[in-house]
């Protein structure tokens, strides 16, 4: 089975982006020398799965940041909407989280980086997330897109490790208990 991994930053009040997807609150944080572990994390995954909102936000950056294949789950975006320069990097599929993971499993993926608040919520609800690395930014933004949402039942986690990055962020690594 392909399992989902999350590597994401949230405000202390649990938002991954403002309602309009903006990340200004994150981008304004002072940079520091500490390794966030992002590169090492990306080495461990076969590719990314994201929703349309995250895809559009990342595409808006101008420079495509991912070297691994990206699968966009969307009911409305089709492959012909993807710009020519991204055609070999981005694939759109209209599948449920479970069906998408089954497809990726058949293709040989073992670990998928699941990105974006709404997608993480639906993957969590369906038990498709195995590990989360959450970097907590020292700011309250009051509203936005939450990392977590309603659940059919409690989910117990195991804390793998936690550390302070650049003296202002707390990065905690959790594993979902089965």
């Amino acid at each position: 089975m392909t399992t989902g991994r999350v590597f994401i930053a949230t405000s202390l009040d649990g938002y991954v982006a403002r309602k309009d997807h903006s990340l200004d609150w994150l981008m304004k944080q002072p940079q520091g020398p500490d390794d966030t572990g992002y590169e090492a994390f990306v080495e461990t995954i076969d590719g990314l799965v994201m929703g349309r909102g995250s895809y559009e936000t990342v595409k808006g950056f101008g420079t495509w940041p991912y070297t691994k294949p990206v699968v966009v789950l969307s009911k409305t975006l089709s492959q012909s909407d993807v710009p020519a320069e991204l055609q070999d990097k981005v694939r759109t599929v209209d599948l449920s989280p479970k069906a998408a993971m089954d497809m990726l499993h058949a293709e040989g993926w073992t670990k998928a980086y699941v990105d974006g608040g709404r997608l993480v919520q639906s993957f969590m609800r369906e038990g498709l997330i195995e590990e989360l690395v959450i970097t907590t930014i020292p700011i309250l933004i009051g509203q936005g897109i939450s990392l977590f949402g309603e659940l059919p039942q409690d989910i117990d986690l195991e804390l793998v490790s936690s550390k302070v990055l650049n003296e202002n962020m707390v990065q905690s690594h959790y594993r979902v208990e089965r």
Copy 2:
């Protein structure tokens, strides 16, 4: 000015209690040898300020756990509702957060322990919280009473310290930037 301090446990998804105020998800966590710092924290405060919901929950424990004076902010609870054995420990006041802090300042309080999700939210909104110690429990409960709520604007925080307690909880200490 009396400043508010928060010392609270939340689920990883940011809830301090279920909607019915229950804390079963917190109480079921394994106990460990590490000092949570609660006793040392209580030594620093002049007393507690809480809402009716928290007061009723704590009263339900049977044994009153606080040695410091408790002020309950409530529009509906009056002093005659407080049981005889708590009359010298609990005072009810029908005041706004700001007016309550002004009253406590006049009485010589410098640090008030502000407890309970709804009260912390309103004190945060009014800029009455100076420090927060948040212990994150490794569980997602999906819904409940949130520690944080909507805000008129972003609130920047400074991370004072963060540590792992009993191998499963992350306790982070924040100061509100002014």
